[in-house]
Amino acid sequence: MSLSPAGPPLLSARDVKVHLRVHRRIVKAVDGVDLDVYPGQCVGIVGESGSGKSTLGRAMTRLLPNVEIAELSGSVRFCGDDVLAMSSETMRALRRHRGLSMVFQDPLSYLNPTLRIDRQLAEALRHLGDRRAVQQKSAELLQQVGLDDSARILRLYPHELSGGMRQRVLIAMALAPDPQILVADEPTTALDATVQYQVIQTLRRLNKERNLAMLIITHDLGMVAELCDQVYVMQGGKIVEAADVFTLFDAPQNAYTASLLAAARRLHQTKVLGSAATP
């Protein structure tokens, strides 16, 4: 966990704008965002639904969905190269070898239901060449995310795994190119509470043991408190506050941030103490 980063940022966004055309209107999903992730740092982006945080994450990894884009501008520098300005060829090579990988919210739909896990993992490992190396590395990757029974899991289909296992498989796939950063968009939202804990622990372990930088996009402030070093708060497509995690939780500068925190605390109280505690 690095509180005071040294050296240049790993991932750096400057004035990123993503304007989408939806039903003849322009929606400014992301409207001028600056953001930095340093090596080994875990950064969180929080906000409500519609704040643009998911769109930002997907724009930074060039994985925007099939929506009509009115404007996509700004720069996203990854190890010095502007991801947004690259050709598709270069981007693909970057994805295969250096990895700007992303994990999403609903693991079931992000895995191909008709293919076995080993085949889907192998797709991410083709740069290794021969089959045995691929098999070995696949098993290693699964073990890294805490799925020790790798031999059995590799032969299964996605629907035969539990939600938490699926999400960890997707994380394993994202780790295939030995990346320096992992982007996660609501990685635990679709999972049960106990499973959420497992996944969060996995992420934390990866961050600490491999010095893997992370960009976690979420509305779950609890997860942010557990995992992140630096937090950005988004509202209406803009960053309204950026601070390290301790400062943010103890002394938020922005009113919106304060209201988010207050709401989260109320929710937490209700959960812990039951409905009697609701004001």
Binding site: N66, V67, E68, S88, M91, R92
Partner: protein
């Protein structure tokens, strides 16, 4: 997704005024879709041409006066057929029966299939199982076969033809309505209506049906186009009502003269094509209106 829950539950008195402006609004939206407006125009035009055939045709459909088998000319823009009839005139009059049969058959299929589908979808359980089996039974047989079988049993006057074609296409309608009932009855506004204690009748007719309407309109439109194609086939085989000219029947006559008089076959076929296109484009337009997919965007597969 179907449109938002009906507003019929709330203010009945302001309905009359809002209905006309609501219809105009719908029309406007239809014309904004890619081809929906064109489809509607085609339908209106061919219906008008057929309905007002006497105005547009130079002769009556039974006039055998002209010289036979003449290629298209100024006098007979689409030529004349083997009986000495002006093809253009026959085409217009034939449109009447072809279009009417198509539409009536679709409507009948909707009534039969829709009722069965609705019953299966609402009552579920054993009722649904039996009804679905029957639907499957009819679905297994190809349309032409069912139609031929019915015609051989019952004959082929106008209404019997309509019934035969309806018999062939009702399973599709039944499945669609059944599907709509299944999805819609799970939605919140129906559960809410049930919780408040509204009668079954009310729920079916004022909650579920208005929301199933767009899908139903689309399906009826598609059924009409299918019905026209089936009826054309029937006519082509010479098994349609001999007292009424129809496009299919014109193609039947044309079959003998493929070598000598291409215009006898080409133009009726084109007419059928245009009619079917009209229904299909209209149906696509309505689908796009209520289901505004990102149909405009090319998929991203790289980069």
């Amino acid at each position: 997704m179907p449109a938002e829950p009906s507003v019929l539950l709330s203010v009945p008195q302001s309905l009359s005024r809002s209905r006309t402006s609501a219809s105009l609004d719908l029309l406007r939206r239809l014309f904004r879709t890619r081809f929906g407006g064109i489809g509607l125009i085609i339908l209106v035009v061919i219906s008008a041409l057929s309905a007002f055939a006497p105005w547009f045709a130079s002769n009556g459909p039974m006039d055998l006066g002209s010289p036979a088998l003449q290629p298209p000319s100024w006098q007979h823009p689409l030529g004349t057929d083997s009986l000495g009839r002006d093809v253009r005139s026959v085409l217009l009059y034939a449109g009447r029966s072809s279009l009417t049969i198509g539409f009536c058959a679709a409507a009948m299929a909707f009534l039969i299939g829709g009722t069965i589908g609705a019953m299966a979808g609402y009552f579920r359980g054993a009722v649904a199982a039996v009804l679905l089996r029957v639907t499957d039974l009819f679905h297994t047989l190809p349309a032409i076969i069912i139609v031929l079988f019915s015609v051989s049993l019952m004959g082929s006057s106008f209404w019997l033809q309509v019934a035969a074609v309806a018999l062939a296409i009702w399973p599709i309608e039944a499945r669609i309505v059944y599907g709509q009932f299944i999805t819609l009855s799970e939605r919140e506004f129906v559960l809410a209506a049930r919780a408040v204690g509204l009668s079954t009748f009310h729920i079916i007719f004022r909650e579920i049906l208005p929301n199933a309407l767009p899908t139903v309109i689309v399906q009826v439109s598609l059924d009409a186009s299918t019905a026209i194609l089936i009826e054309a086939g029937l006519g082509f085989l010479g098994l349609s009502d001999p007292t009424m000219p129809s496009w299919g029947e014109m193609l039947n006559r044309g079959q003998e003269f493929l070598e000598l008089a291409w215009w006898m076959s080409v133009f009726p076929g084109m007419a059928i094509c245009i009619a079917v296109l009209g229904f299909n484009l209209f149906a696509d337009g309505v689908t796009e209106m209520f289901n505004p997919r990102a149909s405009a965007v090319a998929p991203k597969l790289e980069g």
